[in-house]
């Protein structure tokens, strides 16, 4: 027996991973013309891992604090060996992760993968999407540049509009009345400790549910396959699907590397709390549809403040979105209604984001 096999055998005796591999070999993934959508969850997970790894590397040099944050990121970008690559990959990967998380959610929606018994998978997934957006919001401030400073100011101000809990929440987020160094320290804490902790637990739960419940098949195909079991096609999870997923990860890595090398993430200008806000300040693209909606709502709708109404409406829609599987039934008209709603939501998000991007 070769030394490597000896080591593997020794480990197997203690970890019993042959059982795990046997289990994975037994696992199958449905094979049909929409199977490629199944890769999105894995790609999002891969990007999350990239985030964790690059984030840890950035932590070696990053210093949270109004007087040091910008300079430390500047140091990472100019002096640290491959610091520019790590930071650019971290920033691009964050954006790609939010994009793939959105795409994953809509693919689940259109493939009807949230139906019974996968309600908890959907709920944990949507909460993960919110967390990922939270990662984006908190991480955006960390370089302490002008755009980040004012975007955080506007973002936390919107939070402050929520009746009753808005103001205390805003003060809690900011660490005071205004966006200051205290806000930066807080956001750093949320970004590197609180959010990763919650996200890791939720990701494990989400992946565990996917493993337990298997991968969903679109309802129409499900009917076809139950009527004609011989038409059912599957591929082995290991190695067939896993290797394809690995290919997707490699391609994602290539895209990330290309973006980081050709378009290194801009550092901007150091935030000056006493300077006036730059004209036409906008949030990151993934908040743009909400920002633009709030801008379009009139100042007063009946007797309610327009902004408060908008924030409450988004809160309500977010809650209903989490609970979406519970509004579903097997009735065909219901299925159609949810598909229609999904198309509308996707069109609204894309349309408003483009409008927000183009609007002055």
């Amino acid at each position: 027996m070769s030394p490597l096999r000896n080591v593997l055998h020794w480990l197997d005796e203690r970890l019993e991973w042959d059982d795990l591999i046997a289990l994975l070999r037994k696992k199958t993934v449905p094979l049909h013309r929409l199977s490629y959508w199944y890769f999105l969850g894995g790609i999002t997970l891969f990007l999350f891992v990239i985030q964790v790894l690059t984030g840890i590397l950035l932590l070696l040099y990053y210093r949270p604090g109004a007087n040091e944050a910008f300079e430390s990121v500047q140091y990472i970008m100019t002096q640290v060996q491959f610091g520019w690559l790590i930071r650019s990959v971290h920033s691009w990967s964050a954006n790609l992760m939010i994009f793939t998380a959105f795409a994953h959610m809509f693919s689940v929606l259109f493939l009807k993968a949230y139906r019974k018994p996968r309600e908890l998978t959907w709920i944990s997934g949507v909460i993960l999407l919110f967390l990922v957006m939270g990662f984006g919001f908190s991480g955006y401030l960390l370089p302490w540049n002008t755009l980040a400073f004012f975007a955080t100011k506007v973002g936390t101000e919107i939070t402050g509009q929520v009746p009753f809990i808005g103001k205390p929440t805003m003060i809690f987020l900011r660490g005071g009345e205004d966006v200051t160094g205290a806000t930066l320290t807080r956001f750093f804490g949320f970004h590197v400790a609180v959010l990763p902790g919650i996200a890791t637990v939720l990701i494990l739960f989400h992946v565990l549910l996917v493993q337990r419940l298997g991968i969903s098949v679109p309802p129409r195909l499900e009917l076809e396959w139950s009527a004609n079991p011989s038409a059912k096609r599957e591929m082995k999870f290991f190695p067939n699907f896993a290797l394809r997923e690995l290919m997707a990860w490699y391609i994602a890595l290539g895209v990330l590397g290309a973006l980081a090398a050709i378009f290194p993430w801009n550092l901007g200008v150091k935030a000056d709390p006493f300077a006036p806000a730059p004209a036409g300040i906008k949030p990151e693209w993934y908040f743009l549809f909400m920002f633009q909606t709030l801008k379009l709502i009139p100042a007063k709708v009946w007797f309610i403040d327009g902004e408060i109404l908008g924030v409450l409406a988004f809160g309500l829609v977010g809650l209903l979105w989490v609970l979406l599987p519970f509004f579903e039934s097997d009735h065909p008209s219901h299925l159609k209604r949810i598909t229609g709603l999904s198309i509308f939501a996707l069109a609204y998000i894309i349309g408003m984001s483009i409008y927000g991007h183009l609007a002055k």
Binding site: Q74, M77, T78, W84, L85, S88, P239, N240, L243, R244, L246, M247, Y250, I251, L253, G254, G257, A258, A261, I262, F263, P264, W265, N266, L267
Partner: protein, 422 residues
Amino acid sequence: MVILQNKTRRLAIARCLVAFGLIVFAPYVSYGQTPNSCLDCHSALPEPLGVTQEKFSQDIHAQRGLTCVDCHGGDPTSDDPDKAMSRKAGWKGKIERKQIPELCGTCHSDPAYIRQFNPSLRTDQLAQYHTSVHGKRWAAGDTKVAVCTDCHSVHDLRAPSDPRSTVNPVNVANTCSRCHADANYMKGYSIPTDQFAKYSTSVHHDALAVRGDLSAPTCSTCHGNHGAAPPGVDKVQNVCSTCHVFQAQMYEKSSHKAAFQSASLPGCVVCHGNHGIVHPTDAKLGTGPDAVCMQCHKPGDVCDQARAALLTDLGRLDEAINNADRVLAVAESSGMEVSEARLAQSQARDSLTKARVSVHSFRKDLMDQDIQSGLSIAAKDLQAGQKAMVERNYRRVGLGMSLIAIGIVVAGLRLYLKRIES
């Protein structure tokens, strides 16, 4: 008169109602004004007798508690126009133009009186006015020249710090131009009337009116205000030097000072002009249409050689800065972090500015310090930009190799999958 009496009656009724209102709402409203019946009638009269409450409330005097009576006399407490405007009550009537300077001076030349309102306000305006060209002509009987109200306005006279004031720095040139740009009005004074038109094209006007830099000069900055007079040929540099200190110091020590003085040439104005001063460029040192040196010097003489040397040095530094800027801009647009070099570029530009100031010494050795310092900074910045470009290319090569490696792995995986699935 009947109309006026009817109006007065109606106003008396209105005043009763107001009085009732004041009694009722006295705890909530604070009114500390003395009764002023003048405005009751004059607010209803057409110009030039009309003065509305709204207009007068804008006046700095009204805001400090002064009323019509302080200039015009009379009894503002009486509702009867005959009593209010009786000579017995000290009513002076319309203030004659010839009385204006002395009337204003009654208060504005009295430090004890003025101190109550604004201890830092000067009280020498009338004395200065008497020394001005306006004041001298006024004393000689010329009533066309400006008096206080011509510049400061009347009944809505605002503090100079008020942007709406006619004597606010931003508005001074317009105020002066009302007379000085009017060729008809100025007929007989044998001075040009194009100063305002020229000033409007000048770098000073641009700084003041366009950029809002209140320290930039307007007419009164060079000519004075109450003591307004032309600076005088041999004193021009003293005026310019109040702002352009370094240029003046260098000019003072230069060979040009004596030469200009002996030729009765007005210092700075010889090369830069006066009202229409435009942003100076290095072309002034050249031999083209904007050149000034060659108006006096001969081609090939020592001064011409010195001029050419100064121009060459300035050109070298300017070009070095522009080169570095270009490379840094490309590096920046490629996403490279060159903010430190960008910042250093402003120091190189400062050196160029200093070198341009040193031109006023007309000495190459003095200018050389700034030129060399600027060239050294620009060279470092250029190097930083080039280094960034090398780094950018290195990254792209690295990316290409990584993508090839990734492509090979993906192709290998694809082939492996094909093999096991076949």
